[in-house]
Each structure stands twice: as C-alpha cells, then as structure tokens.
C-alpha cells in the first residue's frame, strides 16, 4: 500500500527532473534573469515538496483519509469508455465536422449511459446538434469544425 502511495511523488519528482533537464537549453549567462530561472525554481520546489512527501509516507503514517469511493473494475471501465467516447468525438469532428459527429456522439453516449429509448434519443441528439450549431453560427458567429472529409 505504501508503495502505491509513492507513485505520485515519484512521478512529480520525475517531472521536476525533466523540467530541469530541458530548462538547461534556455540558460543565458548574459542576463541577470534568464528564461531558465523561473522553470528551474518551480522544478526545484516541486522536487523538494515531493521528497518531503516520500519521507512522510515512509516514516510517518499518512493520516489523510480519502472521501472518494474506491475505484472498482466497473469504475475503471467507465472512465475508459468516457475517454474513448471523447477521443472518438474529437476524431470525428476532425474528419466529418461538428454537426454529424455531435449527432453520433450524443446518441452513442446516451446509449452507453443506459438510455434505451431510441426514438427519444434520436430526436434529442438531432435537436442538440442543430441548436448548438445554429447558436454558434448565427448568434455567436463562431465557426465550428467543418471536417476534412466533407
């Protein structure tokens, strides 16, 4: 259990280390405050904070109790499904544009969330897609993704 808790701070220490490494390229000896100064300062503080966390975890019992329910297999699967849906929506927007991809995405996500009233879903997703498109096109005058295929 302690080993699992160490993953977080180790990742942040790694992030700090990477920042220090890449910041070297921005070091400039000709100025008082170089572009590397601020990221280095933040990275060093991040490493220090997370070393302290590691010490706290190893040598003292972390008394923090989480309010979150434990993540079950269903939970992991749900998050992956949500993420996959969003990535799919992103890709569809790129390929076929906002209107069609929104219709597909809204219908699909409603189905994944357990809505089995297909006629209601179809009407709803058409209404959502067309109304948001109309609001952005005619009221806000902001273009939405058009898609590369059409």
């Amino acid at each position: 259990m302690k080993t699992a808790k160490l993953i977080d701070p180790l990742c942040f220490i790694a992030l700090g280390g990477l920042t220090l490494y890449f910041a070297q390229a921005h070091q400039d000896e000709n100025v008082i405050v170089s572009p590397a100064f601020f990221p280095r300062m933040v990275a060093i503080l991040m490493i220090i904070m997370n070393l302290l966390r590691i010490i706290t975890i190893i040598f003292k019992q972390e008394k923090v109790e989480s309010n979150q329910p434990p993540l079950t297999r269903t939970g992991y699967k749900s998050v992956l499904i949500a993420l996959a849906s969003l990535v799919g929506y992103f890709g569809l927007n790129y390929l076929i544009g906002f209107l069609l991809s929104t219709i597909i995405f809204v219908f699909g996500l409603m189905y994944l969330l357990g809505n089995r009233r297909f006629l209601q879903s179809a009407v709803f997703c058409l209404a959502v897609a067309f109304s948001i498109s109309a609001i952005f096109k005619y009221v806000l005058v902001l273009p939405l993704p058009q898609g590369v295929l059409f």
Partner: protein, 505 residues
C-alpha cells in the same frame, strides 16, 4: 461632482428604451456567462459590432449590462454542474457545488446573485463618486507591487490545499509549470514547445478550466451512473433568498470582498479570478466556521461572487480616467468607446461629462437588474439539473468541447482540455486540490514577468521585493499566510486525540 447633471443622467437612463436595452443585455450576459467555455470577453466582443449603429450611450450601457451579467453568469454552471462558466467562478464552485449536492442549489444561486449585485453596486458607486481619486492607486503599482500581489494571491491558495499541504503546494507548482510553456515574457524566447507551433502561445486558460472542471466532472458522473450511484439530488427551489440570520452571516463577507474586488479591479491586469480567490481566502481565514468551507459554507459562495463582481466597477476606473483597461473585458469596452469617437483619460471627465454620468448611472442600474433577473432566472436554471443525467451529460460534454474549441478555433485546445480532464479526475481521486492549478496558471505569467523585471531592476538581489512599502506589505502578508497555514496544520496533527485526559494524569 455636478449633481444636476447626475440627476439629468438618471432621468435619461430611466427612459423605457434604455431600461429595455440594459435588461436584455444583462440577461444575454448571464446566459453566455453560464455556458462553460464562453467567456466574459467573448460576450463583450460579440456585442460591440452589434451595437455599433446605436447611439454612444445606448451602445455602452448595453456593453456594461452584458459585462456584469456575464461575470455573475459564470457562477450558475459552477453551482449547478460543478463546471465554472468563467474562470472567475472557480472559487464559487467549491462551496456552491457542495450546496447543490446537498439539495440547496436554489439557496446557492440566490446568495451568489445577491452578493454579485451588492458588490457590483458598491463598485459602481466607488466608480461614480471617487474615480479620479481612486485612479491614483493604479499609478502606485510597478513590478515589485505586482509581484507582491501575485505572490500574496498564491499564498491564499494554501488555504485551499485541503487535507495535505504538500499536495496543495504540488498542485500550485503544477499550475506554475504549465505557464512556462510558450513564449517567455521578458526575452521572448520559446520554451518547452517541442516543435509544436500551437504551443508557442502557451496553454490557453479556457481549455484548461474546461478540462479540469468540466471533463473531469464528466468522467466522475459517467463512473457514478454506470456504478449505479445516483448523482442527482432533489433541489429545494423555494427560499432563494437567504434567511435573516444567514444574511447577517454573509453581510460582512460581502462587504469585505466588495472592497477587495474593487481594489483589485483598479489595478490593471489582475482580473476577477484573483479577486474571487482572495475574497474566498480572506472569508475562510476570518471565519469561525472554517471547517465548513469546501463543504457548502454560504460564506464560501458569497465571498468569491462579491469579489469577482466588485472588480467590474473597479476595472472601469483606470479605463475611464487613464485609458488603461483594468482587465480584459474593459479592454473590449475601451474599444467600444473609441468606436464612437470618445477619447478616454482626464479629458473625458472635462469634456464629456454628459456621456460619463449616464455610464455611471447605467452601470448601477445594470447591477440592480442583474440582481432581479438573476433571482428570477435562478429557478429556471436550477431545473436544468432535474433533467435526466443520460440526457444532460452528453450535452455538457458537447458544451465543454465547443467551449474549449471556441477560444482559438483549434482542435488542439480540445485535446488540451481532455488531457487536463484526465489530470483533474486523477487529482480528485487522489485528494489533490484542483482549483490551485487554475489560479496558478492565471497568476503565473504575472508572477514570472514581474519577478524578472524587479530582479533586473534590483541587480539580482531578492531584497528588491521589500524595497517599496506596498510590495513589502504584500510579500510579508504572503509569508504570514504560509506560516500560519503550516502552524495550524502542525497544531492539528499534534492535537491529543478526543477523550484523552488533558491533565496527563
């Protein structure tokens, strides 16, 4: 002050056409502000070309209406959905969404509306009667002072650290690290873009906010629905107005935060986000019920809302008196003024008082209307969450997607939002606070640029941060904040367990 002209301006603004314009623009502002990803700046920018054909006064009062409506509107989705409609509403979300989960969304919306309206009226009155005097404050601020205020605002975030201070500090540092991507503010060098041209301008605030709060909430809700846990709570919609004893509790908080917001607004370049978090932090620090913050404290809703709406009038002061916009939306308003051929600055107060006074009155009326319209729409808004989650969640996703896309019309920003959504979800699951990331991203550029400027002026010596009274005060207050937080945490951890014999016998 010419009170005759002020009275005539009042009569002018009270004409039915002007009142209708203010009412419609406030309503439009509230609705746009409530949509995640659509910002106050966007709302103002949309209206400028639409009102070009109007007479100057009507054009400007409509911009004022949409400005103060949109600043309040961000709290609506923050409270109801846990997704701040504008970044300034992120602080309101902390306790507002907690109240919504307890079935008290109506009360939260009512308190937010009242606090916003009162603070807006207060800052409008300061603007009306004290503009030239208060504008001098903005001239006192140089790099040392700006660094001081940014550092002080970051120190307030320590109060939002939750149960683990180290996790809180880490969240702040993650946010600061994000601001180092893109163009370095002093020398113009490009950092950490790894060849990606879109990253040259850095990470935009809106996709980050949409991701951290919007998409992460979507992941949470999808997980809850598929696990069979209910995410809805039946809402109490009667009693939008707080009870008398609740009003007595939030009145001093609203007063203090209004002052904080107005003061922050007067200083160019800081903005309502900082004011809302400083207001929240101050309310928490001075509260006797500190432990309730984060779990539905009404002061936790009133303080940030008063802070962010207090900025509206304050930001107008340097814009009108010096021609320096107090924040991004007032830069748009400045453009609106210039479109009508008006020159801001001291000359405006000498040559165009017949324009200036109606603006003052119009702004006060807009804030009053915001209170009335906001309370009227609160019941309508609160019904949104009674929609079935299987229908509501996809719509929220689409709005988050569009909100992230709309800022720079870039799908890359949507990808950024999704990435931060995962980060926000991970942080929430592991008890890292999320709000400090957003505030650190807002304050990071100001902190870095002014720190570098001040160090250059002081030849690399850190004592430069104590070289001016205002700067020194903010830096010392910031360290006091951090020190107090550490001391309180140490005391809590070393408190004897309940039931132990205090005499040690």
């Amino acid at each position: 002050m010419d009170f005759d002209l002020l009275a005539q301006s009042f009569v002018l603004i009270m004409q039915p056409m002007n009142l209708i314009i203010i009412m419609l623009s406030v309503t439009m502002g509230i609705i746009i502000g409530a949509l995640p990803g659509l910002t106050v700046v966007m709302a103002c920018a949309l209206l400028v070309p639409l009102t070009y054909g109007f007479p100057a006064i009507q054009s400007f009062i409509s911009l004022l209406g949409i400005y103060c409506g949109a600043v309040y509107g961000g709290s609506v989705s923050a409270i109801l959905l846990g997704i701040p409609g504008t970044p300034a509403a992120a602080a309101t979300m902390i306790d507002g969404f907690a109240l919504c989960k307890k079935g008290q969304a109506g009360k939260a919306l009512g308190i937010a509306c009242i606090a916003s309206s009162v603070a807006g009226i207060f800052s409008a009155l300061v603007m009306t009667f004290l503009s030239p005097q208060v504008a001098k404050i903005s001239l006192l601020f140089g790099p040392v002072e700006y660094f001081g205020i940014a550092f002080f605002a970051l120190s307030i975030l320590v109060l939002l650290a939750g149960k683990s201070l180290l996790k809180g500090f880490t969240a702040i540092l993650v946010g600061l690290l994000c601001t180092t991507i893109g163009i370095e503010p002093l020398t113009g060098g490009i950092r950490f873009t790894f060849g990606n041209e879109t990253l040259t301008s850095g990470l935009d605030l809106i996709p980050v906010a949409v991701g951290l709060f919007g998409f992460s909430q979507v992941f949470d809700d999808v997980m809850a629905i598929r696990s069979g846990r209910s995410v809805k709570k039946v809402q109490t919609l009667q009693n939008l107005l707080p009870k008398w004893r609740e009003l007595r509790r939030i009145a001093p908080v609203i007063g203090k935060s209004s002052l904080i917001g107005t003061f922050i607004g007067v200083i160019p370049g800081i903005g309502p986000e900082t004011a809302s978090f400083i207001g929240y932090g101050e309310a928490k620090r001075s509260s006797k019920n500190r432990d309730q913050f984060g779990h539905g404290a009404i002061e936790g809703v009133a303080a940030p809302e008063a802070g962010n709406n207090g900025v509206t009038g304050g930001a107008m002061i340097p814009m009108l008196t010096l021609g320096v916009p107090g924040d991004a939306p007032t830069a748009i308003l400045l453009g609106g003024l210039m479109l009508h051929g008006l020159t801001v600055g001291p000359m405006l107060f000498r040559d165009s008082l017949n324009f200036v006074y109606p603006i003052f009155i119009g702004f006060i009326i807009a804030n009053i209307f915001m209170g009335v319209i906001g309370l009227s729409l609160a019941r309508v808004f609160a019904r949104v969450i009674s929609i079935r989650q299987e229908l509501l969640l996809p719509v929220i996703c689409v709005f988050c997607f569009v909100g992230a896309y709309a800022t720079r019309l870039s799908l890359f920003d949507v990808g950024v939002a999704m990435g931060f959504g995962l980060l926000g979800f991970y942080f929430n699951r592991n008890d890292y606070p999320v709000s400090p990331i957003l505030v650190a991203i807002i304050l990071g550029p100001m902190l870095e640029m002014n720190m570098a400027n001040a160090l250059n002026v002081g030849n690399g010596s850190f004592m430069v941060f104590l070289s001016t009274p205002v700067g020194a005060i903010f830096v010392i207050l910031a360290w006091l904040n951090i020190g107090l937080a550490l001391y309180n945490r140490y005391r809590k951890q070393n408190r004897p367990p309940a039931g132990a014999d205090s005499t040690g016998g």
